[in-house]
Symmetry: C2
Subunit: 300 residues, 2 copies
């Protein structure tokens, strides 16, 4: 069974009710909240054997479980506030293992202003941690993945292709997201949890558009530079947790101007939003194009 | 590691911040929300091998995962509203397995007015389902587990000792909870997820009181009646998901009057709240007393 199929099935089955601004299908659900703010809600589960290994140090399990959720709130333009944590831990693990998970979670929660307000612990064969995160966003700052428009330029934060190395200790792009939504008109945004190919296709599908990205523009980390064969890592490997966003050319110029003036917005232009008929394509360095399939890290 | 130790550790580590009315340590966390309502938040994870078996039919896994959370909202006097669901499913399972989980969850959600607004699916060796439920409660209707007062009478809904049989298909006592909080002054309430002994001790500890319950008053199901040795099941076996609540004698009289008039409040008086020095004791049918230890279904 494919995750996409399942999400489609859920979206169909659970129609949003009153009070629900956006239900299943984006990085967060959006609820009515106060006069000028929406509530954002997201949950992510990480499981031993899927998202980390038996040998992963528990501090990093705690860090990552919270980080992936903060990244979801960031990608909608919001601020994380409250978290609920459920954990399944083997009876063989000692108190120290669990405390180390809590210590990692506590460290990142403090850095990002998250208040852990509830929890549930259970016996489990393998370690599993679920975090549910509540956030809020000013109505005018809410960004969804379905607002990309043909002609928009496409940007990503940071570098791509480091997921395999940094997924256990990454720093969610909350600060950058807030700078973007508070200073510019961003049309769509998503976090790259499952790789550029998969997540750009999600934006394209949700927005009913196509996209063209240029291989030569992809920001590669030093470790991948000069190894063209490794570009695939920047495209198909997930867990980068960088932000991908689109904005009109006019807004993009403002964004690039700001980048030149201040040093707090490490973003790179990688392509443009196009008509739906184009599909989602990658333009190679030699000019040849190929369709970017929805291939990448699938959760099922 | 014991769950109680861990919860104590968490409670100490995570002090409630602004906006948090009650943090870790009750059935739900309580947040400021609107002028006259609080928001309730709870999460519960159920795991194959701990809360259900490999053979449990998936419809019942879905039902139970949602039911335990609705029960938590009920025990605080609230109404469930929105749910986020995370699931870990084996790659060997087919789409039908997952759809059946969703069907069970959907069935109970419709009955109780819950709107599923988000989800996350993952590959996992064993099946694991986490539900986070948001609810709301009128400020004057909020009931916590720490309000029991010496002299209160103790009641439970339904019958005790059926957890092993009904835990996969139980009907959360939401209707009864709402009748109680809207019509009477309830001092404390908890749902019996881990057995009478464990959960009554939780109320006693949180409220800084003792309690005395009478073995002869315990409402046993037909299946356990006349089998005195099996009383232990009503006391130490968890997953009954009945409500235990306390109220002053004056309010208790009103509750009992109402029970005589209408047929919608199946509650039974089982004992009384006492001074802390008494501890939590069970009075046997022959009059002998014994301490009820915090023994029961522990999650770790």
């Amino acid at each position: 069974m494919k995750e996409l199929e399942f999400v489609k099935y859920l979206t169909h089955k659970f129609r949003a009710g009153p009070g629900v601004v956006r239900g299943i299908g984006d990085d967060c659900a959006v609820l009515k909240y106060t006069k000028d703010r929406y509530m954002l809600l997201t949950c992510d589960m990480i499981i031993e054997g899927t998202h980390f290994t038996k040998k992963t140090i528990p501090y990093q399990i705690g860090w990552k479980a919270m980080a992936v959720n903060i990244s979801d709130i960031a990608s909608m333009g919001g601020i994380p506030k409250y978290a609920l944590v459920s954990a399944g831990i083997s009876r063989n693990k000692d108190m120290k293992f669990l405390k180390e998970i809590v210590r990692g979670m506590d460290a990142i929660s403090r850095k990002f202003g998250v208040n852990i307000i509830g929890g549930d612990t259970n016996a489990s064969g393998k370690t599993v941690v679920n975090v549910t995160l509540l956030g809020e966003v000013e109505k005018k700052c809410l960004i969804t993945r379905n607002g990309a428009k043909a002609g928009d330029l496409i940007f990503v934060t940071g570098a791509l292709g480091e997921g395999a190395v940094k997924h256990l200790k990454f720093f969610p792009r909350l600060k950058e997201a807030r700078i973007l939504v508070k200073n510019f008109k961003i049309n769509s945004m998503i976090d790259l949890s499952d790789g550029l190919a998969m997540d750009l296709n999600r934006v394209a599908r949700a927005s009913n558009v196509g996209a063209r990205v240029y291989e030569s523009l992809l920001p590669l980390p030093a470790s991948l530079r000069g190894r063209p064969g490794r570009r695939a890592e920047a495209i198909f490997v997930g867990e980068d947790f960088e932000l991908l966003f689109t904005a009109s050319i006019k807004e993009s110029k403002k964004i690039m101007k700001r980048m030149g003036e201040k040093n707090d917005l490490p973003v790179t232009l990688i392509g443009e939003v196009a008509d739906k008929r184009l599909g989602v394509i990658l333009v190679g360095e030699e000019g040849r194009t190929k369709q970017l399939r929805r291939k990448g890290f699938s959760h099922l």
